[in-house]
Symmetry: C2
Subunit: 255 residues, 2 copies
């Protein structure tokens, strides 16, 4: 189990994701003797940057909904050891957002999208490449690091799931969400905004095409797989902006 260090600030209840749900406080029974350690990066950060000492309180999360209060314990090695004193579990949100997006020509644009989507709230990000994709690979490890940093920074305790880039057809085989949308402007009918067709409290998936857009065939495949065309606003958006807008709109209708 990975544990990610979080600044030990106390979290205003109102800032907790899933704030409308009861926050279960697990009994600390069994914990006191359990000793764990931070990752190497987090240990360096805690010791060198924040100059934390044994006895100092920290907060850690496993990225699976558990946020632990802990105390740094004396350790001889490079890794910061700590003892968990209390655990607060945040249940998953009553809805889930999955965005499937094609990597952008410049990687920083997708990395930026990941940071912002995690801050705002997202359950899963799947990458794919299509006929018109100029980039087919991306550094998933780097992207996960960015996501962890954003999760900690926004005081959340759920880390989204990431799927490495696969061909569009392969991606479609992984779709299980009932509410399916593809960000595309219909040729004939007048466009419908995502906010008007997505129902609150659902499990959503949205397809965002590459800079070169979807091919006719890809669009047909999506529609055959029960995806519905939706727009994200009146202006033409870049790939990463469209991806974040979709994430934002779906969060928004569930506020």
């Amino acid at each position: 189990m990975h544990l990610f260090y979080q600044p030990g600030v106390e979290l205003p209840r109102a800032n907790l994701p899933g704030m409308e749900l009861p926050c279960m406080d697990l009994p600390p029974a069994g914990w006191p003797d359990r000793v764990l350690h931070l990752t190497e990066d987090d240990s360096r950060h805690a010791m060198k940057t924040l100059r934390l000492k044994p006895g100092d309180p920290i907060a850690v999360t496993d990225g699976r909904g558990n946020r632990h209060s802990a105390i740094i314990t004396p350790s001889t090695g490079k890794l910061t050891t700590f003892r968990i004193t209390d655990t607060r579990t945040t249940p998953p949100r009553p809805f889930s957002i999955r965005i499937c997006v094609a990597p952008t020509k410049s990687p920083d644009r997708i990395e930026w999208f990941v940071e912002k989507a995690v801050e705002i709230g997202i359950e899963r990000i799947s990458f794919f490449y299509g006929k018109h994709s100029e980039r087919r690979v991306l550094k998933l490890e780097r992207i996960e690091k960015i996501a962890v940093a954003a999760m900690k920074q926004s005081l959340q305790s759920w880390l989204p799931r990431f799927d490495d880039a696969v061909p569009f057809t392969e991606l479609l085989q992984t779709i299980s969400e009932p509410q399916r949308f593809i960000a595309h402007l219909p040729a004939n009918e007048s466009p419908v905004n995502l906010s008007k067709v997505a129902a609150p409290g659902g499990s959503y998936v949205v397809l965002i095409g590459p800079e070169g857009d979807f091919s006719e065939n890809e669009l047909k495949q999506a529609l055959d797989t029960d995806f519905r065309m939706a727009t994200l606003g009146p202006t033409r958006l870049r790939t990463e902006t469209a991806a974040l807008s979709a994430c934002h709109i779906l969060n928004f209708i569930n506020f």
Copy 2:
């Protein structure tokens, strides 16, 4: 009058900002003999990168709602000259969004916000610095360049207005918008989301604090100037993410 070159693609009506409003087509009377030229940057881009020749059609916008169809004319100098053949004017949107935000420690975060806000739609961005601001200056010229690029890229013809960073108290004296919000978590009352308190079709202004947040006194000043506290979602957002979320929510309730 500045004219910004736009790719000559024909703009799907549905993509026009203010699409619900009638698009006035100005008569080309008087235009045919008028010869204008692109900026030096745009001339280089049109000639060197896109290899456009005299007789090629281009589109230009003045950033004030006018989008001109034009033909490149022969020219001896470094600047690309063109003749306007037709003008389409997009009226301002039936609502207006002004975001007042403190510059972030790393300038690229604010620059990123500006690019995205322009893509999504915004009328005015005002910068300010408060008691807890670590940065008090920013490169407004660079920010305006990013805004122009985003306006052209998203096929819009309105460029937002920018105000250089001033102290918070000075900023408050420039507020005329009736719908005023400050992104802040109330200490006692339960938080209200911006989407729940902002009314559609209005003229909005939102204050987004620096990384160090507003000081108690600044918060008081804002409330005394009829600003209302509002949240932007259940998670803790970075300054630039909060600024974009506010912009997004206000666009959203007007879709």
